[in-house]
């Protein structure tokens, strides 16, 4: 058994483990945020496991599909799901290396998420329902605006570490304990706003509403039911968790495991959960303290984050 | 009998016979045969020259050197072409009862007569005979212009004749002054006016008188060549004259007049140094190209369009000579050759289109001729592509030779302007020809139905000419190249 094969198997195992882990935890994150929002509004909020109940119910339901739709409609959610799952293997979570970091770095990650979006938006057009088209149109537009901002933000922090590969990047950050720089704050703010936009949260989108004039993501998936819908919901949850992880990797890598020693891994897990929870709180606060923006105010938000990211680059390298 | 003389006598006889009248097949035969024979004799004369001989007659009053030989051969060629096309052309008109016996006599008489005058120009060594021969072409073309005897043809003929005679008066004055500049040195008698004599005594010529003479001669022969600003008769004449005659003017007269200009240029160069006449030629040439440009853009008649193209090409040749570089001179003569090969195709196909629609005005022809007369239209498009100097056809090579010499020579700015004008000219032609040939066929309401295109002597000639024009771009027969080189030698190193 050659070492190459061993490495391969190891990577595959790690990938499975990480993907599984994130898949398992993603629904929880959504519910936690819901619950915290509810609490801030003095409501009881759903039980913590609500996310799992929903998915289980959806998966058990009978699949209903539009008689207009073609196979694209079926393929969409699966591609979306697969892209999200595959993306999870590119990001270091508890251990300072991504399982498939040899597959690619930031650019591939962004590409993977774009792939998922493309698949879902295309599928949304397949039912002929005006909502699908509306959602697809709005989602693609916002994404188109968000992508450059996100990339610039990522570049800003990646160039600091001199690598576009998340594994390498995190390791450099941890090992050299890079001294923090005001630019990081700007970059963080920039990316955070994009994450808000990309995960369809207030003030860009409202995951809770089904009011046709305002909804974006929900409009896209309005026609989906049963297992198909489950895949979409689950994948979006994973995507959100992924973004949070990305943020903590780039700006707060403290505590991430650098060795496979159980203790280190344990610390890593705890640290990661903690940091994600903090981010969740931040998101909750943003969601509860802001009103949803009109669609055509979103570009302003995005341009702000673009400006922040560019500023970050500028002040760091000039 | 002297080969050179017979070269001149044959077309004269043909003209005489053609002018007399007689059954048409016979006339066709004589014209075709006579002009074919003429061409053959031209080739023979050129051959004689290439073999080292200097064909001459009347004690060097007629003399064939490299330049003459080239112009002679080209003249014989277009003479033959226009004769052959002319037969088909006249027949097509007769089929529609447009031809009176007078017209027939004029036609069969004047075409060969014109060829004779044209050839005489190209071989005359005495400036006096040169002048007379040019005058003959003028008189011949007047009647060819009035051939269709319409109001406009009279107008065109009048303008042509008045401008032409004025030009000839200038040319005569120029000749006289040049002769005067050499009083004493040139001597007396027949030989006195001979170009060869001038070249011998060039250093002794009286500079100012000569300069004055050269200026007048350039204006005079420039009028015949159609250099701006003496070009104004050209569009009218080309529109009115029947296409076979137009070809004789557009190639024969142009080459002939250029021949005269070159002779004058050489004398002045030998005596005053080249800059003087080069400057004049370059200026007039550039002016011609620039003048032609806007009129192509706004043109309303296909034959006038081609008239402006010929103004442009004369300008190009003048520029080539005026740039004062051996390469440019070679380019100019190459241009003359390729132009003589390509222009007939354009004029003939345009002429056929005009004939089919019984008018040469764009609004009369309508558009979409491609669907109506595919072969002719295709030939016309091909010809336009060639005469606008697009690669990979002949005129491109000559033009780029001139341009190249120009950029590396003393006048890069003038060359740049020239190049820009060429581009605009192409666009103009593309626009006009596109409108004529493409689009849904639209029959002009107020005209009799256009004729269908038929395969006859005329079309056969055009196709053959087109084939020659295309092939010549890639392969010029060695003797022809030798002639061009010899001509270049004459013009560049004055010998």
């Amino acid at each position: 058994m050659t070492s190459a094969m061993q490495d391969g198997l190891l990577a595959a195992g790690a990938a499975l483990l990480q993907a599984g882990g994130l898949l398992a935890l993603a629904p929880l994150l959504k519910t936690v945020i819901k619950k915290m929002k509810a609490r801030l509004q003095n409501r009881q909020g759903p039980p913590l496991l609500q996310g799992y109940y929903d998915l289980a119910k959806l998966l058990r339901k009978e699949p209903v599909r539009s008689d207009v739709a073609s196979w694209v409609y079926v393929a969409g959610p699966r591609a979306y799901f697969a892209a999200a799952v595959a993306a999870t293997t590119l990001v270091p979570v508890v251990f300072a290396a991504a399982p498939l970091e040899s597959a690619g770095g930031i650019l591939l990650l962004v590409g993977a998420l774009a792939f998922g979006r493309f698949a879902l938006a295309t599928a949304a057009l397949d039912t002929g329902s005006p909502f699908g088209g509306m959602g697809a149109s709005r989602d693609m537009t916002i994404a188109a605006l968000a992508e450059p901002a996100l990339m610039l933000g990522l570049f800003a922090s990646a160039l600091a570490a001199g690598s576009m590969n998340l594994g390498v990047l995190v390791r450099t950050l941890v090992q050299e304990g890079v001294t923090r720089h005001p630019a990081d704050i700007l970059a963080f703010a920039g990316i955070f706003m994009i994450v808000i936009a990309e995960t369809g949260r207030i003030p860009v989108d409202n995951p809770a509403t089904h009011l046709e004039l305002t909804m974006i993501h929900e409009a896209m998936v309005l026609e989906y039911a049963g297992p198909d819908l489950a895949l979409v919901e689950w994948a979006s949850a994973v995507k959100e968790l992924l973004y949070f992880t990305l943020l903590v990797d780039l700006f707060l890598p403290v505590g991430i495991a650098t060795s496979t020693a159980p203790a280190a891994l344990l610390v890593g897990i705890v640290a990661w959960v903690g940091k994600v929870f903090v981010l969740a709180i931040a998101v909750t606060i943003v969601e509860s303290t802001n009103a949803k923006l009109r669609l055509f105010r979103v570009p302003e938000l995005v341009s702000i984050s673009l400006g922040l990211a560019f500023l970050a680059l500028a002040i760091r390298f000039l | 009998m002297n080969l050179l003389l017979s070269t001149l006598v044959v077309p004269l006889l043909t003209a005489a016979i053609g002018g007399l009248g007689g059954p048409r097949p016979f006339k066709d035969a004589t014209m075709a045969g006579g002009l074919a024979l003429t061409f053959a004799l031209c080739l023979a004369t050129a051959k004689q020259f290439l073999d080292g001989g200097i064909p001459s007659a009347f004690g060097d009053a007629l003399r064939v050197d490299g330049l003459s030989a080239l112009v002679l051969v080209l003249g014989g060629f277009v003479g033959l072409l226009s004769g052959l096309y002319g037969i088909g052309y006249l027949r097509r008109n007769e089929a529609r009862g447009l031809v009176t016996p007078r017209m027939r006599r004029e036609f069969y008489g004047l075409i060969p007569a014109y060829v004779f005058a044209m050839l005489l120009v190209s071989v005359s060594n005495s400036l006096g005979i040169l002048w007379i021969a040019v005058e003959l072409t003028t008189l011949a073309s007047v009647f060819l212009i009035t051939f269709h005897d319409t109001d406009t043809s009279l107008e065109a003929a009048w303008k042509f004749l008045v401008l032409g005679s004025l030009g000839l008066a200038f040319a005569l004055l120029g000749t006289v002054l040049m002769f005067a500049s050499g009083r004493g040195s040139l001597g007396e008698g027949m030989g006195a006016l001979q170009w060869t004599r001038f070249m011998q005594v060039a250093p002794e010529l009286h500079p100012f008188t000569l300069r004055l003479g050269v200026v007048f001669a350039l204006i005079g022969y420039g009028t015949k060549a159609g250099l701006a600003p003496m070009h104004t008769w050209k569009p009218d004449a080309y529109r009115e004259a029947p296409s076979p005659a137009v070809v004789l003017m557009a190639v024969g007269m142009v080459n002939g007049a250029l021949y005269c200009l070159l002779r004058i240029h050489l004398i002045s160069g030998a005596s005053l140094g080249p800059e003087f006449s080069e400057g004049l030629l370059l200026t007039l040439g550039l002016l011609s190209v620039l003048i032609a440009t806007p009129f192509v853009l706004i043109q309303w008649n296909v034959k006038r369009l081609l008239a402006y193209s010929s103004i442009e090409h004369v300008g190009i040749m003048a520029i080539g000579v005026g740039l004062g570089a051996q390469a440019a001179v070679f380019g100019a003569l190459l241009h003359m050759t390729y132009h003589s090969l390509a222009k007939p195709v354009a004029l003939f196909s345009a002429g056929t289109l005009a004939q089919l629609h019984s008018s040469s005005n764009f609004d009369r022809i309508g558009q979409g001729t491609f669907t109506r007369a595919p072969v002719t239209s295709a030939l016309f498009v091909l010809a336009t592509v060639i005469i606008t100097g697009s690669p990979p056809f002949g005129l491109f090579f000559s033009e780029i030779t001139i341009l190249r010499a120009g950029f590396s020579g003393a006048h890069p700015t003038a060359t740049a302007v020239f190049l820009a004008a060429l581009i605009v000219l192409f666009c103009g032609f593309a626009y006009q020809v596109g409108h004529l040939v493409l689009g849904p066929p639209r029959d002009p309401a107020d005209r009799r139905k256009p004729q269908p295109e038929r395969f006859d002597a005329g079309m056969a000639t055009v196709i053959a000419a087109a084939a020659i024009a295309v092939v010549s771009a890639f392969y010029l027969p060695a003797p022809l190249m030798a002639l061009i080189r010899a001509a270049t030698h004459v013009v560049w190193s004055r010998g």
């Binding site: 898949l23 009978e62 209903v64 599909r65 539009s66 207009v68 073609s70 959610p77 799901f81 697969a82 799952v85 590119l90 498939l100 690619g104 770095g105 650019l107 774009a114 979006r117 938006a121 295309t122 949304a124 397949d126 002929g128 329902s129 005006p130 088209g133 149109s137 693609m140 994404a143 605006l145 901002a149 990339m151 610039l152 001199g162 690598s163 576009m164 026609e223 055509f296 673009l306 390298f317 000039l318 | 009048w158 030009g167 003496m230 008769w233 569009p235 806007p294 853009l297 706004i298 979409g368 690669p391 990979p392 491109f396 030779t401 890069p412 820009a420 060429l422 581009i423 666009c427 596109g434």
Partner: protein, 677 residues
């Protein structure tokens, strides 16, 4: 094999020439014309491909003589350098499927009387392009260039009954000739200084210097920019490409524009000596401008072929900005970086050619099946033309630069070049790189939006017109080329390393470039010059993706429950095509957000018959402003025409005026002479 390679180029050209003549001879037999022309095209392309591949493999160029032109004492020679070989490979890779597709397509789309002309023009165009790529001197280059231009113009005018295509052909001719004029001037200036017209001499890099060098650069930049369709020289492209028969449009968009890119490479970037920073800036800014505006315009088109044409402008912009990054790097002496950028640009040439021809051919099938080019009249074609739909979808994914397909690797490399450019160039100019990168990201995201729209509206949901509901799948001979190209998209998308490996030799052959060994990372994937900086192995990601698919299947597909088909909720009413989301509506948000670019004008009139409160019908008309046409070209044209009109008075028919000209000339000359004494 070597024998073939030695004579390959003349052989291929000879085949094309013969077929042109033969086609014109066979004018009366359309079917024969079709087979002769397309068969010859395929054969010639195969030969060319053999030569090109050999040269890329051996990285040593093949030279030879096409023919000796006695008249102008010039020898037209060819020289297949690795660079030419790269473009030749692209050409033949596209020419074969295009020809194959055409065998089926022309039979339906071209009127028999025109078959000869179209066939001949097609071969002339491709042959001319081949000459352009292999020419070793100015004369040969210009000959090829012009033959290509004229043939293309003829093809654009195939449907010359329609005013639009006549206009397009004319616009194309004029723009090209202005470009050609610039090239001619540039070449002749170089030639006059160097005293030769062979590329080996005049493109050696140290012929001219100083301001003259920049002037020549400007001439070439415009000349080639026109062909490459860079904004603002692009106006002909969106008119001409849609007007031609679809398979020809495919070739034009995929390969013909690369003639301009080739020129920019050969002359502007590597022919005039070490590039100037300002040149690089010109490249990067115009490239970015073309990319962003191209995709923005594409996004709002409702004519599928125009949409694709605009996206061609976008991609040619991406190639240009890659090259610009390379020049910037060379200007700062960063050779490895320049190599990465050049590789990115060249790789995009190949990739774009593949997916763009795929998309155009797919669009061609759709247009043939529905008889319209208007996206709003398609819809629901996925069910009627499943294979075409599948191939088109793959093309759409590829052109959106998504991983697993071949659009991704070249954009990835471009990003690498831009980011490293940022880290490895000094001074303020470096900020140019992340800006470009951000705009490139915006471009590819918008492209994704654009092609979600193009594919979704055309192929999905209900048919939007009777024509669409009666569409039929196109014959196999047209599907096979599509399949071939789609497969290439996937293969090159998964294994870009091999393309990069082939590019190694090409880049090495260019002056001042050193391909770093690290670039072919693992053979499967790619890596930027410094492995630690970034690398990518799409195939590994592909495995992960497949894993994800399996996972999703495991989650959903375990129980054999019958899927229930239900009608889409039509908001209470019955779902009709009219209630579907339209393409116009889809692009509306972008239109409003980038209103500054589009300057849209919209007009809504409510037609009420009885009283204004009972509106009978509402007419909505919206158009975006053609900025460049309106503010740059139309005034120019008007000026020229007015000038020409003004000159009329010179030839107003008065003999007296004519005589006056002569008199004036005579007097002037006489006074001048009097002065000289």
């Amino acid at each position: 094999m070597d024998g073939l390679v030695a004579v390959g180029v003349p052989l291929a050209l000879a085949i094309r020439l013969v077929s042109v003549v033969a086609t014109l001879m066979l004018v009366r037999h359309a079917r024969a014309c079709r087979w002769v022309a397309l068969g010859a095209s395929i054969a010639a392309s195969v030969v060319t491909a053999a030569v090109a591949v050999h040269v890329i493999g051996s990285t040593s160029s093949i030279d030879g003589t096409l023919f000796r032109h006695a008249a102008s004492e010039t020898v037209l020679g060819y020289s297949v350098t690795p660079l030419s070989a790269w473009f030749l490979t692209t050409l033949s890779l596209i020419a074969v499927p295009v020809a194959l597709y055409s065998t089926g397509y022309f039979a339906h789309a071209i009127a028999p009387p025109r078959m000869a002309a179209v066939g001949a023009a097609l071969n002339a165009m491709v042959g001319g392009l081949e000459v352009v790529f292999v020419a070793d001197g100015v004369i040969a280059f210009l000959c090829g260039w012009e033959v290509m231009t004229l043939a293309t113009a003829a093809l654009v005018a195939t449907e010359h009954e329609s005013r639009a295509s006549r206009r397009a052909a004319y616009l194309f001719l004029v723009m090209s000739h202005v470009g050609t004029g610039c090239l001619l001037a540039g070449f002749l200036i170089l030639g006059s200084v160097a005293g030769s017209l062979s590329f080996a001499v005049i493109l050696s890099g140290h012929v001219v210097s100083g301001s003259m060098r920049s002037g020549v650069f400007a001439l070439f930049f415009i000349g080639f920019g026109v062909k490459a369709g860079l904004i603002p020289f692009h106006v002909w492209l969106p008119e001409a490409h849609p007007a031609a028969p679809s398979s020809v449009s495919a070739f034009m968009s995929a390969v013909l524009i690369t003639a301009g890119i080739y020129g920019l490479f050969k002359v502007c970037a590597f022919g005039l000596g070490p590039p100037d920073v300002n040149w690089a800036l010109a490249f990067m800014s115009l490239g970015t401008l073309s990319a962003i505006l191209g995709v923005l315009y594409a996004l709002t088109q409702t004519d599928i072929k125009r949409l694709l044409a605009y996206s061609t402008i976008e991609n040619s912009g991406i190639m240009a900005l890659g090259l610009g990054a390379a020049m910037m790097a060379l200007a700062h002496g960063r050779h490895t970086l320049a190599t990465v950028a050049v590789a990115a640009s060249l790789m995009h040439v190949l990739n774009h050619a593949i997916f763009k021809s795929l998309l155009f051919l797919g669009a061609g099938s759709v247009v043939m099946a529905t008889g319209t080019r208007h996206i709003e009249h398609f819809g629901g074609l996925m069910r009627r033309m499943p294979w075409t739909g599948l191939w088109f979808l793959i093309g759409a994914l590829a052109i959106s630069g998504l991983p697993l397909l071949n659009g991704f690797p070249s954009e990835w490399l471009t990003f690498q070049a831009l980011l490293q450019g940022f880290t490895s160039t000094p001074g303020l100019v470096r900020l140019n790189f992340p800006l470009t990168a951000a705009l490139l990201a915006l471009t590819s995201a918008l492209a994704a939006a654009c092609f979600v729209r193009a594919f979704g509206i055309s192929f999905l949901a209900l048919p939007r017109s009777p024509a669409a509901s009666e569409a039929h799948e196109s014959p196999a001979v047209m599907l096979v080329p599509l399949g071939f190209l789609a497969t290439l998209c996937v293969v090159l998308g998964l294994f870009p390393g091999f393309v990069l490996r082939a590019l190694g030799g090409v880049t090495a052959s260019l002056p001042g470039l050193q391909p770093p060994a690290a670039m072919m990372w693992g053979g499967l994937g790619m890596s930027s010059a410094l492995t630690s900086f970034d690398h990518v192995a799409p195939v590994m990601f592909g495995l992960a993706f497949v894993g994800g698919l399996i996972g999703s299947a495991a989650l959903t597909g375990r129980r054999a429950v019958a899927v229930r088909q239900a009608p889409t909720w039509g908001c209470g009413g019955e779902l009709t095509p009219r209630s579907e989301y339209t393409a116009t509506a889809f692009s509306k948000p972008v239109l409003m957000i980038f209103g500054a670019v589009y300057r849209p004008t919209r007009q809504v009139d409510a037609v009420a018959e009885v009283s204004p409160y009972f509106v009978h019908e509402i007419r909505y008309r919206a158009e975006i402003e053609p900025t460049f046409e309106r503010y740059l070209y139309r005034p120019l044209l008007r000026g020229v025409v007015r000038m020409a009109g003004g000159m009329k008075v010179l030839q107003a028919g008065s003999l007296h005026a004519y005589l006056a000209y002569v008199l004036v000339l005579a007097v002037i000359l006489l006074m001048w002479l009097g002065g000289t004494t």
